[in-house]
Amino acid sequence: MKHTIAILVEDQPGVMARVASLFTRRGFNIESIAVGHSEKEGISRMTIITSGDEKVLEQVTKQLNKLIDVIRVRDISPRNVIERELILVKVHTDSLSIRAEIIQLVEIFKAKVVYVERDTLTIEMSGDEEKVSGLLKLLKPFGIIEIVRTGRIAIARTKNNGQRT
């Protein structure tokens, strides 16, 4: 079972290494990891996608909480969350007709062509996992030259009373 874990950490040197090393050492799996500054100064937010049963997840959460630089760990997967990933894909375009076909796909997926060369197109798209993998699947037959992904980020929806879930 996949889990999205949101972690608040203090911006200390080596904090990424600490979190990553913990996953490796304890045999937990990282599917993707994304890090950036949070709304508070000196505090960063990490989004980690991991997999495992409830027991594994409990250990992951506790072991992360044990790190001094980690302020808070939340498993936000079962909650009401908005998840996004940004990808850049470079695709082969052998002929004009293929290029037209790809551009059509780009429009359907509300993606963007960000760079054009004689025989390639570079596409930018953001979306949830379903949308990202959907586009990639359809682009594959054309010949994908390169994919760059940011890793998923997630944010919890706000409840009616203004409290964060």
């Binding site: 950490v9 203090e10 040197p13 080596g14 027991k55 506790k62 909480n65 001094i68 630089d69």
Partner: protein, 561 residues
């Protein structure tokens, strides 16, 4: 007041009331040692060991014997990497340490400079936290935080890397009053509702047993443990790390459990219906085959580290917090009870098989040596051991009466730990007798510390159980490899008496049983460093034992114990 980085370190150590530091100098840490030299009244003793591993084990032994934070110092590069085993050892046994390492100047860090090593990277998984001080202004807050983190919550080792230019830079010094780390708030008070639920469960159980682990000693909760056990007449088994937390001669004490534990302890917890686990992490050496561990029992688990709860064993009532505080509270919710039928059942288990300290004449055997140590010191000495068969003999047969009188490497099983740790324990407790029980294999792993012990005129006794083998592994080869003793013979060992004499100490060799007690007496009266080389049978085994992977109530060699 404006101070240099190294002056800040000395002042900070003074503020933390550090009394002794163990270390070895080197180029990158020279500024700090130079400040020791310039300081008129150095507020702590500066002890030079002969290997950095000796330094950190000594700091560790000091910490375990006193309950205070141990401090050690090493230079950059190889000095720092020599601390690695000691840090891992302290981390696995939850020992509060602060280790300082020299580092190349900040402008050279990352360039593979001479004696540069990424020690914070290397020690990341074996320290509770570590730091590299990049600016002199950071030093005092880092040291304050390091000591606080090392000793609070579940204790552990912390490392501070000190680039040479940071040691030499100057800034205003003010030692912070407190630290505030958002991500570090150990919880001490257990949940009241859980404590009440635990009390109810304890009163309802028919066959309750307490497993007292090292957490009792770290929390200084021996007294509270005894109150709870005595009020409710619940038998107590100790984990290896918990030895000393409950007096071994008490009728409720069943001794150590686990792979090399007592038969009665293992049988008792196997038939229990309630386990009250206090400050233990259910290491595999305790549980044996997890699936068959305590099949009839529900579990109350009290520990300060939430990670340990539910890690290996499913828990009915988990309580996170400080054992001293929680046991005190729990005691209030408990009523007196007699437990008669359960205690009679245990008595029957014990009568079936009780470890006998053998009486036969002639051969000098390990259990007899321990018996003499018990008779002579009556549980008042600090017993420090190395790792191997002698360690298990000591753990099983020494009459531990008080917490912090058993100092030994548990989780990591570090051969070479015992002797330097005994040196540290003696520095920490100069008025208590310190006996280091070691083996001919372990002792040679840090034998160079003879210089530290003898030069500093430490009155201590090393009892060397000399069987010419790496005995514990030899035993496993005997049992599981058809006696193919590959690489376990220690042929080529030196004459230990001559070695000790070479360092200026005193050594005695004991071959016969009747010689041992008088020599132990004499050694103690000499009030100086004495090594007793005990020639024990080469193929003496540590029994009973549980075969690795087997259930703990199935013990081999029960008849021999």
């Amino acid at each position: 007041m404006e101070l240099s980085g190294t002056e800040i370190i000395v002042e900070s150590l003074k503020q933390e009331k550090v009394k002794v530091i163990f270390g070895i100098i080197g180029a990158a840490i020279m500024p700090l040692y130079d400040t020791f030299g310039k300081t008129e009244k150095l507020p702590f003793k500066n002890i030079l060991t002969r290997h950095e591993q000796g330094a950190i084990h000594a700091a560790d032994g000091y910490a375990r014997a006193t309950g205070e934070v141990g401090v050690c110092i090493a230079t950059s590069g190889p000095g720092a990497t020599n601390l690695v085993t000691g840090l891992a050892n302290a981390y696995l046994d939850s020992v509060p340490l602060v280790a300082f390492t020299g580092q190349v100047p900040t402008y050279m860090v990352g360039n593979d400079a001479f004696q540069e090593v990424d020690i914070t990277g290397i020690t990341l998984p074996i320290t509770k936290n570590n730091y590299i001080a990049r600016r002199v202004e950071d030093l005092a807050p880092i040291i304050k935080e390091a000591f606080y983190i090392a000793r609070s919550g579940r204790p552990g080792p912390v490392l501070i890397d000190l680039p040479k230019d940071v040691q030499q830079a100057r800034c205003q010094f003010k030692y912070p009053d407190k630290i505030n780390r958002k991500g570090y708030k150990p919880s001490y008070k257990g949940h009241v509702r859980q404590i009440k639920a635990a009390a109810k469960k304890i009163m309802e159980a028919e066959k309750p047993v307490i497993i007292a682990g090292g957490g009792i000693i770290n929390a200084n909760a021996s007294e509270e443990l005894q109150k709870v056990a005595l009020k409710t007449n619940i038998p107590v088994v100790n984990t290896f790390m918990g030895l000393g937390s409950f007096p071994k001669n008490h009728p409720l004490s069943l001794g150590m459990l686990g792979m090399y534990g007592q038969y009665a302890a293992n049988q008792t917890i196997s038939s229990a219906d309630l386990i009250i686990a206090l400050g233990t992490r259910f290491d595999d050496r305790i549980t044996g085959n997890l699936k068959q561990f305590c099949p009839h029992a529900e579990l109350i688990h009290i520990d300060i580290d939430p990670v340990e709860i539910g890690k290996n064993i499913a828990v009915k009532i988990p309580i996170v917090g400080d054992l001293k505080y929680i046991l005190h509270q729990l005691n209030d919710y408990l009523d007196e009870r007699k437990n008669s039928s359960w205690l009679i059942e245990i008595k029957k288990i014990r009568e079936k098989i009780t470890p006998q300290l053998e009486e036969e004449k002639g051969e000098l055997r390990p259990k007899y040596i321990i018996k003499c140590i018990n008779e002579f010191f009556k549980g008042e000495a600090i017993i420090v051991t190395d790792v191997g068969q002698h360690q298990m003999w000591a753990a099983n047969y020494c009459q531990f009466m008080h917490p912090r009188t058993f100092v030994s490497s548990g989780g990591l099983g570090t051969m070479g730990y015992g002797f330097p740790a005994a040196i540290g324990a003696k520095f920490g407790c100069p008025k208590k007798p310190v006996v280091c029980i070691s083996g001919d294999g372990s002792f040679q792993m840090n034998i160079q510390e003879l210089a530290t012990a003898i030069y500093n005129r430490l009155p201590m006794i090393v009892v060397l159980m000399n069987n010419g083998y790496l005995g514990m592994v030899r035993q496993l080869q005997e049992l599981f490899c058809d006696r193919r003793y590959v690489s376990t013979s220690l042929a080529g060992s030196p004459d230990f008496i001559k070695i000790v004499e070479g360092y200026g100490g005193v050594g005695f060799r004991v071959n016969k049983k009747e010689e041992f007690y008088p020599i132990l007496e004499k050694a103690y009266e000499m009030n100086q460093f004495v090594l007793i080389d005990c020639q024990i049978p080469q193929e003496e085994n540590t029994f009973p034992m549980v075969q690795p992977g087997s259930s703990i109530n199935k013990m081999m060699g029960v008849e021999q114990s």
